[in-house]
């Protein structure tokens, strides 16, 4: 395999969840976008699993 591009590129992060991780990365000079995350499908885990399996198809 060829070397991973992320090993040579500046890190740019989308943070989904705990905000403290974004704050630490920003302090290290990393560009970060914090997602305003909510459980998908209103939190219905069964529906989320179904959506996840539909994702698998693409």
């Amino acid at each position: 395999m060829s070397a991973l591009k992320i090993f040579t590129e500046p890190l740019q992060v989308i943070n989904i969840g705990i905000e403290g991780f974004a704050a630490d990365l920003k302090a290290a000079g990393v560009e970060v976008i914090q997602l305003d995350w909510r459980p998908p499908t209103g939190g219905d885990a069964r529906l989320t699993a179904l959506l996840a399996s539909l994702q698998d198809e693409d």
Binding site: T8, V13, R38, P39
Partner: protein
């Protein structure tokens, strides 16, 4: 003793925020227990487990926030719930007044940051695959901190990641380094030429911190999660990460840190290592080196760091039980002059890999039933609804004080510094140990505390100040966790000195 619940509909907050608020509420007068959870199925289970489930809480949906308190009076309960809501309102106001725009979806985040190359995901485990798969399919590498991710989800995520040539670090990955930058719970280390592959937690933190103290640095540290080397996952990400580091020009040597791989995975791991044209050090806690391995095998975390630094300097790695045996002899003599130490030993750890390493060393030195108990306080059973002990020291403080009241002779501890950890973890640890030692002394017993610190000079907590606080509380500090465990063993079994101090292995 009323248990009171309040539901805030459609009020999502991340678990770290909620655990902090619960911790603050718990310290209020008249409050025995407090919890703040989103109403996910797993959280309903946790509320049942800690006895705080109520008819109101059971009706909450995953997007609803449950505040619940066990109080001595209705007045205390009402005041605590009001305080919790005020804390949440303050937080929401602070977030909303911040100028940054927060997109709701990965797609809109990617429009704002089109060159994003990593998704850091720490949502509840049931939703982790949904979010991580989206990121992987868009070519993003993934740092997956979430725990409780179903095994089948992990298998599918890693298969997709390998297919698309991206990293899926985790689930349950606490620590990673990419291009020298730490993600998650990380110590501040220089960018350097050593690459690591680890389950990713305190094992990786201990190795990179020691590498930094030896004057080397880290290129990348790839966490793969604790189940990667199982038969089911088959080492999918460890093998991928090893190959990636093998092809990375900035990585000159590689360290693997893990528990023993499944018998079906070890040959695949060995086959990949055999093809790597760089030195590889394998620290597989609890396993012996397979015959003919191309890697340098070591059995402790400190030895892993020492070996990789030695190999890069073209030196043969020295295998030592203590870095300064004569100083250890002097310290032992000083402690033994104070009288015998009771043989009951209690290890109270915040780092899971550190606890595991101590356990293995003590079992081999003392025998399995020698009266030592090593607890990983970050384990699920001790963290129900509470922050990890690296963030909130309360659970360990309580257990140290209990040890002071009981007949424990040697207390073995770790202290893990770095991003994400408590801002001043030495203060509560030193205070608890002082108090426990005083209680033991008042009862005519002796409690000796032994420990080690995982940290670097660059960490936000200031390593030297943390060490000074622990030394001020008479904690016997050793340069590594392995040395601390061996020193603790020497205290309860002085005859081990013949093997541990006289003979180099």
């Amino acid at each position: 003793m009323p248990i009171r619940t309040e539901i805030l509909p459609s009020f999502y907050q991340d678990s770290v925020v909620l655990m902090r608020i619960a911790s603050q509420v718990r310290t209020r007068p008249g409050i025995r227990e407090a919890a703040a959870f989103m109403g996910t199925p797993s959280n309903h289970g946790l509320l049942e487990q800690i006895g705080l489930a109520t008819p109101e809480s059971k009706a909450a949906r995953p997007n609803d926030l449950i505040l619940t308190v066990d109080a001595e009076s209705d007045e205390a309960a009402a005041a605590a719930l009001t305080a919790a809501k005020e804390l949440l309102a303050q937080r929401r106001q602070a977030t909303e007044s911040a100028e940054e725009v927060r997109p709701r979806t990965l797609e809109s985040a990617l429009r704002m940051l089109p060159n994003a190359n990593l998704a850091a995901i720490s949502v509840p485990g049931a939703y982790a695959k949904f979010e991580a798969m989206k990121a992987i399919k868009r070519g993003l590498h993934v740092f997956l901190f979430s725990d409780n991710v179903p095994l089948q989800d992990e298998i599918e995520l890693k298969a997709e990641a390998v297919k698309r040539g991206v990293l899926c670090m985790g689930p349950d990955c606490g620590t990673a380094y990419l291009n020298g930058i730490g993600v998650g719970f990380t110590n501040v280390v220089p960018r350097g030429r050593i690459g690591c592959v680890a389950a990713a937690g305190t094992g990786l933190q201990a190795v990179v911190s020691r590498i930094a103290s030896l004057g080397e640095g880290i290129s990348h540290g790839i966490g793969v999660g604790g189940r990667d080397l199982s038969a089911e996952v088959g080492g999918a990400m460890a093998l991928f990460a090893l190959e990636a580091l093998a092809d990375d020009p900035s990585t000159e040597a590689i360290v693997i840190i893990s528990k023993p791989p499944h018998a079906t995975v070890l040959p695949r791991l060995e086959a990949v290592i055999a093809k790597i044209r760089k030195p590889v050090v394998a620290c597989v806690l609890g396993a012996k080196a397979p015959a003919g391995s191309a890697a340098v095998w070591v059995d402790t975390l400190d030895a892993a760091a020492d070996a990789v630094v030695a190999v890069l300097a073209k030196r043969t790695p020295a295998r030592r039980t203590f870095s300064n045996p004569s100083e250890i002899r002097a310290r032992l003599a000083r402690l033994q002059a104070g009288g015998p130490v009771a043989s009951q030993m209690l290890g109270l750890y915040t780092g899971g890999t550190l606890a595991h390493e101590a356990h293995l060393l003590l079992d081999s030195l003392l025998g399995r039933d020698a009266g030592h108990t090593i607890l990983d306080l970050g384990d699920d059973q001790y963290t129900v609804g509470r922050p990890h002990p690296m963030i909130d020291p309360q659970s360990r403080t309580d257990m140290i004080l209990k040890a002071g009241r009981e007949s424990v002779g040697v207390l073995l501890v770790d202290l893990v510094l770095g991003q994400g950890s408590h801002p001043d973890p030495a203060a509560p640890l030193a205070a608890a140990i002082r108090q426990a030692s005083d209680m033991a002394a008042a009862a005519g017993r002796r409690l000796v505390a032994v420990g080690s610190v995982v940290g670097t000079a660059g960490d936000p907590q200031e390593l030297r100040g943390q060490v000074a606080q622990l030394e001020g509380a008479q904690i016997e500090l050793l340069p590594s966790n392995a040395e601390a465990a061996r020193f603790a063993a020497l205290l309860v079994k002085p005859e081990l000195a013949e093997t541990l101090l006289e003979v180099s292995r």
